[in-house]
């Protein structure tokens, strides 16, 4: 099938490898991948800050650019939730509402797409490391995406998954929250890092680069011996 891949702004700028890994995996599975060049953002920052009019300026372009897509794969649980869960609310009572409602069921976070839509769990990947998994909040609670990433990790050769106590606890990123309330955000990140370090894992894996940016940013500053990696980057390794 033809998969339309939506690459959010921060993946585009900071973590292109995540998107590239997704392209390679999807192509390896025999699918045609297309990537709309714009918009480069889903409109979530404005939405979460309360500026829904400004958010709609971007979101309506996203809806238009994806309206003919067969399926849409989003390279982030958070942006995935924006398209799938929040667009219908954002456009409620406008002429875009219907389009938003039609788009929602076609949208999938990457790991959910592989497992729930394609029924694939074994990608033949090898990653001989101890890892722990961080559930991004939007993926976990808006998209109910607890199972798919773990099913994918279970099939990676050499990989040992050690769950941390605080797997479901927010890392403290929260978009603009991290800059509006840096002290709280940092404290939350510290709690997360401590829980991950307790597992003695070498890597924290997640479906959300934004969470990993927060965790890695803190760990690097504090010289903590932990690395972060997106699930797609694990799955692409052979």
């Amino acid at each position: 099938m033809t998969v339309t891949l939506f690459i959010p702004c921060f993946v585009d700028l900071f973590y292109p490898q995540v998107g590239i890994s997704m392209v390679r995996i999807l192509e390896r599975l025999g699918h045609k991948v297309v990537c709309p060049s714009s918009p480069a953002c889903c409109g979530q920052p404005a939405f979460n800050t309360g500026y829904w009019d400004e958010s709609r300026k971007i979101a309506m372009k996203v809806i238009e650019s994806l309206k003919d897509a067969e399926v849409v794969v989003i390279a982030s649980g958070s942006c995935g939730a924006m398209l799938k869960v929040f667009y219908p609310e954002l456009f409620a009572g406008t002429k875009y509402e219907q389009m938003a409602r039609e788009l929602a069921p076609k949208c999938h976070e990457f790991s959910a797409f592989l497992v729930n839509k394609l029924g694939v769990t074994d990608l033949g990947a090898t990653f001989p490391h101890k890892v722990t998994f961080h559930d991004g909040c939007h993926g976990l609670r808006e998209l109910n995406n607890k199972r798919p990433p773990r099913e994918l990790l279970a099939k990676v050769r050499g990989l040992e998954l050690i769950e941390m106590d605080a797997a479901e606890t927010c890392c403290g990123f929260g978009g603009t929250f991290s800059a509006k309330f840096p002290a709280i955000s940092t404290a939350m990140g510290d709690v997360k890092c401590a829980s991950a370090l307790d597992t003695k894992a070498e890597f924290i894996v997640s479906c959300d680069s934004s969470c990993l940016m927060q965790i890695q940013g803190l760990a690097d500053r504090q010289k903590k011996p932990i690395k972060t990696i997106h699930l797609a980057e694990v799955l692409v390794q052979s």
Partner: protein, 464 residues
Amino acid sequence: MSAPATHFKEDARRVSADLRHRGIIQTAMGKYEVVRDQRQRSFQDWQGARQLAAATKWQAVNHLDKHLEQFAQQIESRGTKVHWASTAAQARDIILGILREKNAKVVVKSKAMTSEEIHLNDAMEQAGYEVVESDLGEFIVQLREEPPYHLVFPAMHLTRGEIKDVFERKLHDAPSDEPEVLTMVARRVLRQKYLQADVGITGANFAIAETGMVSITENEGNARLTAALPRTMITLVGIEKVLPRLEDLALFLPMLAVMGTGQPITCYNTMYGGPRQPGEADGPEEYHVVLLDNQRTTLLADAEQRDALHCIRCGACLNVCPIFRNVGGYTYGTVYGGPIGSVITPHLRGLQDWKHLSYASSLCGACTETCPVKIDLHHHLLQNRRNASRSKPIWWQKIAFKLFAPVANSPALWSLTTKLGRIGQVFHGLIKGGVLDPAEAWTKTRELPPVAKQSFREWWKERK
């Protein structure tokens, strides 16, 4: 920034970096989670129970007028005097009026967050009454001249050493810091107060419309003594506490206990249906119920967030909230802290002054996931943000988002931004983490990843 927002930011900065505080709260909440989960499993179908509880509260709140009238009629028929208070000031005046009429000197109270909401203790003390809190946690924070730290655990932020200290200072009696010993000290003091008190004031967990009864949940028996010993009893209850049927308690009493404290059921659950009836051995001679609105009907009028009135004040959303667990109960500067407080305080006390609480959330949704009555808490925070920005936008934010839209929408402008980002980051290295750094909020404690040498979109274009 509003004064409460400034206060919040300052306290949040201080408390979230306080590792001792963080340790106390994380440990307490970790223990709570273990017993809560155990007790939830004793329900046949916990999610089904939540669904039923939400449906019952929906019915109660959406027909509040009928249920309240029924409640008042029933409880009055057994000789209770029901008072309707639209505002906090009215509620205080009603209660002070009763105290004057009864010529009271000493008032004993059992735990009631509604009394904190209307600042009843201050009003009674200013009017010259001696007021004693009888719940152990409340008793401790009252001695420390602090408000309750948490809806359910008012003194959870204190160590036994700190409790011993305040007992020594204020009661001159603290033989050791053993919880049992300190509890016995409190008990000796409180027993005298129950006997001296002219009036007992309680809150209410539920008000049963069908039978006209007030249901009070507790663990120490202090509410029973507060109700039984003084000649006059007053119950202050928020109008949203009404439940339609007596049988609803079969669900709500265990649910409140499980989510509040991780108990299967609390030690004492008592229903009060009126003053002492002819032939009865005990109970107050006079019983007053004060029904408090205080902006609850404003929330009722908001169809989008009306479900916030479902709240049974179990505190479960605070317990799981990573913000609460790091900033603590006092930072909020409100009677109701944590997620539920962040949702309702703007409705109770004004959106513009209290909107910062809705922004002080990563929107992780742990609160919504745990809420036993299924209040859509974190989405209400989003709605509060929308309402706040719509009614009073912050000019620079609005401009920033207005400018960002065409950049995100245009491949050429986005490509230019990517290139500018790479150049900017070279110079950013010189000011990183300092006062001149526009990204200081991030870089003070965290590294920022570099802009990739080749962005995804650049890679994609080249590949094609």
